[in-house]
């Protein structure tokens, strides 16, 4: 093996090594991107699941298959605060998809941030959806903001907690879902701080049709 061959081997090793480093870096970057995409999807899927659930339930405020059970639909909302609402509705069952005609109570609220202190995100909370007097069981959907505003018939915002829930005609629901872990590639462009991946949903004016149908 002559000196030329040795030089060839050294040169080719350098070239191979450089290409290998590029490939590894590319691999790392791509992995990060793929994972970030995946986590984005997770956050968005959580948001869609929560918003669909809320829309489904809130549109049934004051609904009962047996309409005589709710003699005055305006009384259907029993408690209304920024992060908690209690109302009458009628849960569907497997055999009766339009409700069983028995009045049910639904409660939505979010727990304190301390309940999810195990996650790196200090703002996420458990979302509670309680049917009748069942034991509250929260689900971790990454909800960091669950805010409701209430408006009367003249579109004036009501102070919370609402003293007279009969006044409520419209609601604004705001939800923000965040990832429990901070990814380094997401920056606040103003401060250059890394931020949690998040998705935001707002129902500007939700009208529960049964609230004032009679």
């Amino acid at each position: 093996m002559g000196s030329q061959t040795i030089l060839d081997l050294i040169a080719s090793s350098l070239v191979f090594g450089s290409l290998m480093l590029i490939a590894l870096r590319l691999n790392g970057g791509t992995m990060e991107n793929v994972q970030a995409f995946r986590e984005d999807i997770l956050v968005q899927q959580n948001l869609v699941a929560v918003s669909q659930l809320l829309e489904y339930d809130f549109r049934k405020i004051a609904y009962c298959k047996n309409y005589t059970v709710i003699s005055s639909p305006t009384d259907a909302i029993r408690y209304a605060d920024t992060s908690k609402i209690v109302f009458w509705t009628d849960f569907p069952t497997t055999t009766q998809p339009y409700g069983d005609g028995v009045l049910d109570s639904m409660t939505y609220y979010v727990g304190p941030t301390s309940e999810l202190s195990v996650t790196p995100n200090p703002y996420d909370r458990l979302l509670y959806r309680v049917e009748n007097d069942a034991t509250p069981i929260g689900v971790n959907m990454g909800v960091t903001t669950f805010n409701m505003k209430y408006y009367d018939a003249l579109h004036a915002e009501l102070s919370t907690p609402v003293d007279s829930c009969q006044l409520i005609q419209y609601m604004q629901i705001t939800i923000q879902v965040e990832h429990p872990v901070k990814w380094t590639k997401y920056y606040n462009t103003a401060t250059y701080d890394t931020v949690y991946q998040s998705a935001f949903w707002r129902q500007v004016r939700l009208v529960a049709k049964n609230l004032n149908n009679r």
Binding site: S12, F16, Q45, R59, C64, G99, S164, L211, R214
Partner: protein
């Protein structure tokens, strides 16, 4: 060297292909997530639109039962089934909205609407007549024309009107409100004639009084039995007490072409009419008018005892004039003209007119219940929910020729 380079290129190509596909899948999945929510929302919107269109058809033509079949809307379609058999005397609309792979169903149960549902109904209210601070309508209200408010009157249930006008302050609508609603004033002559016919069929002391002239009635309850005193003018002496079962065995009492003056407390069912004959006669202060002289109350208060069977229906061709303040009036009151305060009370400091039942008046003029912000009468209308299913005998609670939504599932 050549072989190694080929291996390297092949390896890089494989890595690029793998990650390219994975990234592509992630992008597709994210898009699918957005599409899923979009399709769900679109199918809901289409089904909801179908239900709204079907409701509109029924409100335009109450006999419309055709439904819709595969109506294209917003790149989807909806069909509406109209079912009149599942619920007796009611209409069930089932609107099915389809968008791409998603289906949504909206079910609306409608019921013919009746005047019996109103705590207060007025065919026409003068634009200068206002519901004022201190007025409370605790039940559904409808005004065909303009509902004007001043200060902060409270409407605890649904309010419908031709137009809402807020002169000052902020009214409170606990059941929401809807403008642009017109419900024709109901005919009453059949009801008044039926009360007169029922009164004439009785073998009572004085079932029908024929004017001109005045009939004054004062009810009282003693030992659980309703008694009546009567006279024929204000200065006359009241008659001895007569059992209502003797005076008007069926509880129907009619005044024809005269004045009816009434007050007191009673138990059981009483139907009163002050009518004109022939029906083309124009009512006046002395013909077809009714005067509420003092409290007119049920012996068993339905606000305390909801099972009370005491019930009053009063049908007047002319004005119903209230001549005492404060006053409580229990019953369903109908006037084919004005509901009003006696003129001398309109400028007094404000006091309450409490009506437990319902009030249907053809007109309310600007100063019928007082002047300014603090003179005359404040309304406290408390709807008696018994009226909806068990109205007084022969009372004009016809259908409004429209439907109301009983439940809306979406």
């Amino acid at each position: 060297m050549g072989r190694s380079a080929i291996y390297l290129v092949m390896g890089m190509t494989f890595i690029f292909l793998f990650f390219g596909r994975t990234m592509n899948d992630s992008g597709t999945e994210a898009f699918e997530n957005a599409i899923l929510y979009y399709e769900y929302t679109q199918s809901y919107n289409i089904a909801d639109a179908g239900a709204n269109l079907a409701c509109n058809q029924i409100f335009l033509d109450r006999n419309w039962r055709t439904g819709f079949s595969h109506v294209v809307m917003n790149d989807g379609e909806f069909s509406v089934d109209v079912d009149t058999t599942t619920y007796a005397d009611k209409v069930l609309l089932t609107s099915t909205g389809i968008f791409q792979q998603d289906t949504h169903i909206v079910r609306v149960l409608l019921s013919p609407s009746s005047f019996s549902k109103f705590a207060m109904y007025s065919g026409n209210v003068s634009s200068a007549a206002k519901m004022r601070a201190g007025d409370t309508i605790d039940g559904p209200i409808h005004v065909n024309g303009e509902l004007a408010t001043q200060g902060n009157p409270v409407f605890t249930e649904r309010a419908t009107m031709g137009e809402l006008k807020t002169a000052s302050g902020s009214p409170t609508f606990m059941g929401g409100y809807q403008e642009g609603v017109n419900i024709d004033f109901p005919a009453y002559t059949t009801s008044a004639d039926a009360i007169e016919a029922a009164a004439n069929a009785d073998a009572g002391t004085l079932n029908t009084f024929t004017g001109p002239g005045e009939l004054w009635l004062k009810f009282s309850v003693s030992g659980g039995v309703t008694k009546v005193q009567y006279k024929y003018n204000v200065s006359a002496v009241w008659s001895a007490e007569v059992l209502l079962s003797t005076f008007a065995p069926s509880g129907n009492i009619a005044v024809v072409n005269g004045e009816l003056h009434v007050e007191g407390t009673f138990s059981g069912q009483v139907s009163l009419t002050s009518k004109v004959s022939p029906s083309s006669t124009t009512p006046s202060a002395t013909v077809g008018a009714t005067y509420i002289e003092d409290d007119l109350r049920y012996y068993t208060d339905p606000l305390i005892t909801p099972t009370s069977t005491d019930m009053l229906g009063l049908v007047s061709a002319g004005n119903i004039e209230i001549r005492e303040l404060p006053i409580r009036m229990d019953g369903a009151f109908f006037t084919n003209e004005n509901a009003t305060l006696e003129s001398s009370l309109r400028n007094n400091s404000i006091e309450q007119v409490k009506i437990v039942g319902s009030l249907i008046s053809k007109e309310i003029n600007s100063t019928d219940f007082g002047t300014g912000t603090s003179k005359g009468a404040n309304f406290y209308m408390k709807y008696d929910s018994r009226l909806e299913n068990t109205p007084p005998n022969n009372f004009p609670f016809p259908t409004t020729n429209s439907f109301e939504v009983l439940s809306w599932f979406e």
